[in-house]
């Protein structure tokens, strides 16, 4: 067991974990942050995307011990004071989700994308989301949602 301490969605947490525990397992099983989900075992799908120290990562591809001392934001910590993040709002407004399984990862990656590039073109959005798979939406309305959030006038 290894002792880790980190900040998750603004709260300080500290636990003894097996070194093999993945960050996503730690979030789900220890902290009950089940909003973050697991979709594959090869780091292709991006469903588990969270922010670690301000950048998007696939939490199935990070050991919990590697996140020691870090700051993690999950989909559950995105809304502030009951106010949805603009990207969350845009996904609902533009129907950027159906079953919702890929959605937490898709939203977290979209937030990262807009942090890096506040005014992306459609192609930049599409490439920026290449690490996240969705099986329901055909991506059309996800792209619209990111455009909408970026204030590019997509009002669907």
């Amino acid at each position: 067991m290894t002792r880790i301490s980190l900040t998750v969605d603004g709260a300080r947490v500290s636990d003894d974990v097996e070194p093999r525990m993945l960050l996503v397992q730690y979030l789900r099983e220890r902290l009950g942050k089940t909003g973050t989900v697991i979709g594959c075992d090869t780091s292709n799908c991006g469903a588990c995307t969270v922010h670690l120290n301000g950048s998007s990562v696939k939490s199935c591809n990070v050991l919990a011990v590697q996140a020691d001392g870090g700051e993690v934001t999950t989909i559950e910590g995105l809304a502030q004071d009951g106010q949805l993040h603009p990207v969350q709002e845009a996904f609902r407004e533009c129907h950027g989700l159906q079953c919702g399984y890929c959605t937490p990862g898709m939203i977290m990656q979209s937030v990262d994308l807009l942090n890096t590039n506040p005014n992306p073109s459609e192609q930049e959005i599409r490439v920026g989301l290449e690490g996240n798979l969705c099986r329901c939406t055909g991506y059309h309305n996800i792209v619209k949602a990111v455009q909408h959030a970026a204030g590019q006038g997509a009002t669907s």
Partner: protein, 831 residues
Amino acid sequence: MTATQERPSDEVEREIGRDRRRKEDQRLITGRTRWTDNITLPGMLHLAMVRSPFAHATITSIDTSAAKQATNVVAVLTGADFGEELGVCINAWPITPDQVTPNHSPMPSDRVAFAGEIVAVVVARSAAEARDAAELVDVEYDELPAALDLKDAAADTVLAHPDLGTNKSALWVFDSGEAGTGGAVEDAISKARGDGIVIEREYRQQRLIPAFMEPRSVVVDPTGEQYVMYSATQIPHILRFALAATTGVPESKIRVIAPDVGGGFGGKLQVTPEEWIAWAVGRRLGKPVKYTETRSESLVSGHHGRDQWQKLTLAAEKDGTVTGLKVELLADLGAYVAIVGGGVPVLGAFMFNSIYKFPAYHFAVQTVLTNKTWTDAYRGAGRPEATYAIERLMDELAAEVGVDPLEVREKNWIKHEEFPFTTVAGLEYDSGNYEAATARAKEMLGYDELRAEQAARRASGDRVQLGIGTSTFTEMCGLAPSRVLGSLDYGAGGWEHASVRMLATGKVEVVTGASAHGQGHETAFSQIVADRLGVAFEDVEILHGDTQVAPKGLDTYGSRSLVVGGEALVKAADKVIEKAKPIAAHLLEASADDLEFAGGRFSVRGTDQGMAIGEVALATFAAHNLPDGVEPSLDSEATYDPVNFNFPHGTHLCAMEVDTETGELTMRKYVCCDDIGNIINPLIVSGQVHGGLVQGIAQALWEEAVYDDAGTLVSGSFVDYLLPTAADTISFEIDHTTSPSLTNTLGTKGVGEAGTIASTPAVVNAVVDALRPMGVTDIQMPCTPERVWKAIQGAGSGGATEGAAMPHFESGGEMGNQEQPGTSSTEGAGA
């Protein structure tokens, strides 16, 4: 008291037709979700499966002793430990009386029939410890020859189940001459051989994997009076029935809950070995248990879809008028006959003739057992295969006649004034307008301009050629009239159930037997009920997915939720109004005959007297002042059995650029104009269309489940089973024409599968259209750049996929390059 006016009809917008934002989304976008894998119960144990690495082998011994000694392991169990207690996985649709159906134990103890089959289960206090111990289970196998190639298997060269003596499961035939719905197809073909056109082709429907994003998960809680199963399933009601029927537990003692379910596409329309094993372990140990599959397990053991060889003969007159269609299919069932199983190709049997007026039609499917993962419904189930075949053939016919592909279609399709139209397959199409949808789609694409650009690129010998692909599809959906299902020997009916509960606070609880997994039922159904009862959209709550809350239902698949489940809602809501009427009359001191109901309000004709239905509900709840003999309840339920399928249709056009130097394909534009009847929520419809399109496009371009010659699934992870990303797809232009369905009161048609059914042939037709001047007449799916390039080089339709994965992970490097099991793919005109 003065009646409050909740929704006067003349002031409030109707809910049906509004692009309401979804009720479901608030939870989903904030991570407040209840996926099955999120569920944790006190003392819950975790399962890990030990799976066969061999496609076909005798199990000679299973040594579980080391695993049993591992840390925190509670039990290690095999099929032999359970015996009949384990139950069996069922096939609900034996398509012929003499169908050969192997017994399907969830965990066989003697012989495995596909790589990935479960032979032992480890139960431990954590999932990690269960997996650790699973590595310690020592299973000895004697490998048997495996039936892998579909055509070889159909010839019984190697037997998938030696005890059955054959791989041929069932031969199902429809012949219009025999059915009296048309002429004899052989006559049409021989005549066409003399003085007409005969198009003979063989197409491959490659094996696909549904690949829903949420891996399947099951939790069994045996600690209460009812055994509870939580499962990531599309079919909680069918699952409960099957558990009761095969494991001897009374149905009344079983509660099945499908919590949030992350996609299905048919892939969760199954009763699975994993569910049955979890059930048996939970009962045996008396403790809650959970099993969640990994993605690799999901890809290898969840059912696959498609996998057919299609031999097709189309007869026509010289001018392109079609005279006959003969369809001979080989369909790969995999190792077992799954719940729908051979019924999947039968669902396509009535659709090969599509929108065209064939005077003669013959369909035969031979279902075949192999030592591969079982197959079953995948979005469209039978109809994409049919649509692909006929829409590819119509392009070939157009090329033969020398006319535009849309021209030969129009020559043969049912004209809008000819509806209702009884087809050569015996179905009555209620409504449609192919001319209108096609005209609109052509306009959206800029058809004539792109044809001109295509001609210019051809003339200049441009490295990048342009193709335009057409698909004027129809499908039958809304599974299904129970009598029709009965005539096809399906094991259940096709009705759906709904109930409406009027709460004292004015809220309305609606219970539906349809079980959503991303479709947006809560929103669309709320709109229907809000309109019908005249209550606020926000005041309607849709409950579903729990057999104790929604005890009756037949679940969600086959584009049935709205057209069958929605109709049940309407009928239940109407009963509420009927029950409320005498109470309202009593309270308003009027005659029931003088009451009219509109906009949520009962009014006394010719007066300003009235009361809202919510007020009637409150008065009924209080029950202080009801008419004599009237029960104090407005709650109502209805079970609706459709009288017919419904037949969405549409015209899809795809413009594709082909880099003739590399074979790379770049989609330039995709437009579609679908006729799905009246639309409840255009926003949800758009989502269904977009997502459906990409799944169909993905069959055309990317996806294929490939096995090596040992029967190992090579495309067994998302590294090799290629789902498209946002970067691989484009934005679509979609529109609708509206010919309301006449088979339900809302005038709706299904939309869940339409995009998938329509798009695949549009895409392949576009690729072939681009290259036809180079002599290319077919490219096998998926149209990989390599296949396209080879076809340009004159090597036919591109050949089978080489059975090896890229070894990106270090120890994956041991996987050598292996040859594809004997599939010859040189058939078809491209050869």
